[in-house]
């Protein structure tokens, strides 16, 4: 069996288990390459349909192309999109770009807080029992130790020192009330695998990942004040695969352009323990 086929089957199995066992279920879509691959896998798993709502946490500092691409895909593929935003913090200017918070605090306020609120439901919508995310084990240390089904308590906390066992395709799918589970179908995918799959399946991705002629592109997408471009002439997913495999990026960490990681001591443990994705 080809490696990508193996990864695809395993991820689809996990997505279908989540859909069968966890209700209500949503999926976090950051518009980046990983969660767009995840969205592609959801459409495969359900034979062209997206039977769960997608959640986008909009910090308002996303690069404009990302939002245009988001709205276009939502229309073309016809899925329900829930946009979460921490409006209070934004109106009070409690952010890093406004100079009132450091980067880690800003991530926590605009992403984690808003994610928690969205997952908790509102007048018209019950709380989510689970949410599917596109994180990968090779991104950073705390994600390298994640489970496919990773429980969060009623306060969204991740008990990293007491994770549930999972083996033989059996996961933690039983939960006490008010907790929820994060489902991670892409844990075994590497960054190269993601690009190989995008090339193989011809998955539409946002143009920011490709060199538009000025010799620069984004390797990882986030908010514009904390995400830096890299020097690269890659114009297609195939170029990126070559660049990652043998080229100058082969030994540079993917999230090297994400400033909040540095501020969390070289990883995301502190942020993620409190509920960050």
């Amino acid at each position: 069996m080809k490696h990508l086929d193996e990864l695809e089957s395993k991820s689809i199995f996990i997505i279908r288990e989540a859909y069968a066992c966890i209700k209500p279920l949503g999926m976090l879509w950051s518009i980046g390459k990983d969660s767009t691959v995840l969205l592609w896998l959801v459409r495969k798993a359900f034979f062209g349909h997206v039977p769960i709502p997608l959640i986008h946490i909009d910090t308002s500092f996303k690069i404009p192309e990302m939002i245009a691409y988001r709205d276009r895909l939502a229309q073309e593929w016809g899925f329900e999109l829930i946009v979460g935003q921490n409006k209070r913090a934004l109106s009070e200017k409690q952010t890093f770009p406004h100079g009132n918070l450091n980067r880690v605090k800003c991530c926590q306020t605009l992403k984690t807080e808003s994610l928690k609120e969205t997952l908790a439901g509102d007048d018209g919508r019950p709380a989510f029992g689970g949410v599917i995310l596109g994180i990968r084990a090779d991104e950073e240390g705390s994600r390298s130790k994640e489970r496919y089904f990773s429980p969060r308590n009623e306060k969204n906390k991740w008990d990293i020192y007491n994770q549930p066992p999972e083996f033989w395709n059996q996961f933690k799918t039983e939960f006490p009330p008010h907790s929820h589970v994060r489902i991670h179908p892409l844990l075994d995918w590497s960054e190269i695998n993601v690009w190989e799959y995008i090339a193989q399946e011809k998955i539409p991705t946002v143009s920011l990942y490709y060199d538009q002629g000025d010799g620069q592109r984004y390797r990882s997408l986030g908010c514009h004040p904390c995400t830096m471009q890299i020097k690269s002439k890659s114009k297609t997913p195939e170029d990126i695969v070559d660049e990652l495999r043998e080229g100058p990026l082969a030994r540079v960490a993917e999230r090297a352009g994400r400033a909040q990681d540095m501020d969390d001591g070289g990883g995301l443990e502190a942020l993620r323990q409190k509920g960050y994705m």
Binding site: E6, K44, G48, W168, R251
Partner: protein
Amino acid sequence: MSSVQAINLVVAGHVDHGKSTIIGRLLAETQSLPIDKIKRIQETCDQSGRPFEYSFIIDAFKDEQKKGITIDTARVFFKTIKRPYIIIDAPGHTEFLKNMISGASRAHGGLIVLDAQQGIKENTRRHGYMLSFLGIKQVAVLVNKMDLVEYSQVKFENIIEEFSSFLFKHGITPKLFLPLSGLNGDNFTLKSKNMSWHNGPTLVECLDSFEILIKSSQSPFRMPVQDIYDFGQKIVAGPIETGKIDERDTVVFYPSFKKSKLKAVYQGGAAGLVLQEPLFIERGELATIEKEEAPQIKSNLDVVLFWLSERPMKINTNYIFKMGTAKRNVKLVEVKSLMDSSELKELSKSDEIRINQVAKGSIQLESPLPIDSRGFASCTSRFVIVDDYNIVGGGLVIESKI
């Protein structure tokens, strides 16, 4: 595109025998790390006044670095000229056995690390046994810290003799024993000058010698039903765990014994069956092919099981049993024999199974399920036990003695 499949290898063994150090060193020796990774770890160590350790590359949790131990399994991506790897670093403390099992269950092969000076310890044996329980047949033994025993060939050979006979008893024949020094990097990528008496492979060559055992498509078709989707047409969805199917086959579902010809088959990662008959099928059934070997339909099962919870498993108490996509209430009826997963000596008879114990016994499901006691498919032979929302044990269905 990558046509070579990545292989998953678990690194197991007793606490402090150097598992994380070996992996960290391997990544450094093979230039697999991001350029600034070592520098950044060095800086963090300087700030906190700790000496640099290769294990910090893998032990990413802050508490792991502070305490100098591995708490949870990590996935480490690594490649050689031959192929890509996912190396699974398992913790060596007994209290984190559930984490070791979570990691090891995904592995195609295992590397058991042991300390040349300390020799075989509690979790060297326990992990050796658990690898065999999990069905991992390819195992290599890494004898680490050879620098502490003056690279002694005699020490190395004594360890081979003692540990081989233990592993052999549990059905494991190690493919090789390899003397290493994680501290100095002996035998990682180059043959060590300190151990010219050793003619075997280097660590990298050892990794490349593992194989992915291909699941036989000769086995009968088994597809645990995950769900039934109705997007215009009804599709019975699930993974094809073993065997093959095509549109000319007739499927039989168990335990319901419902039967249908097929209208269409979706193959590949997103597998599914479209039936000709309007059957009511539910999640938890098993799809099989009529003309192939049928599973046995049973509710009284003979099993071997290991227990992971502080709260012992007691007879005549309700638990949840999960196998494939099926779920049933279950009771432990009888404990026939009991042993500790490290000493592997028979313990005195008991009505309960305690943490880290392995038992042979019989269990009673509230209603029957399809079983293949030959064990070719995990959806009809391997199960977990759930208590109070958590997976607390796992086991294999074995042939019952009539």
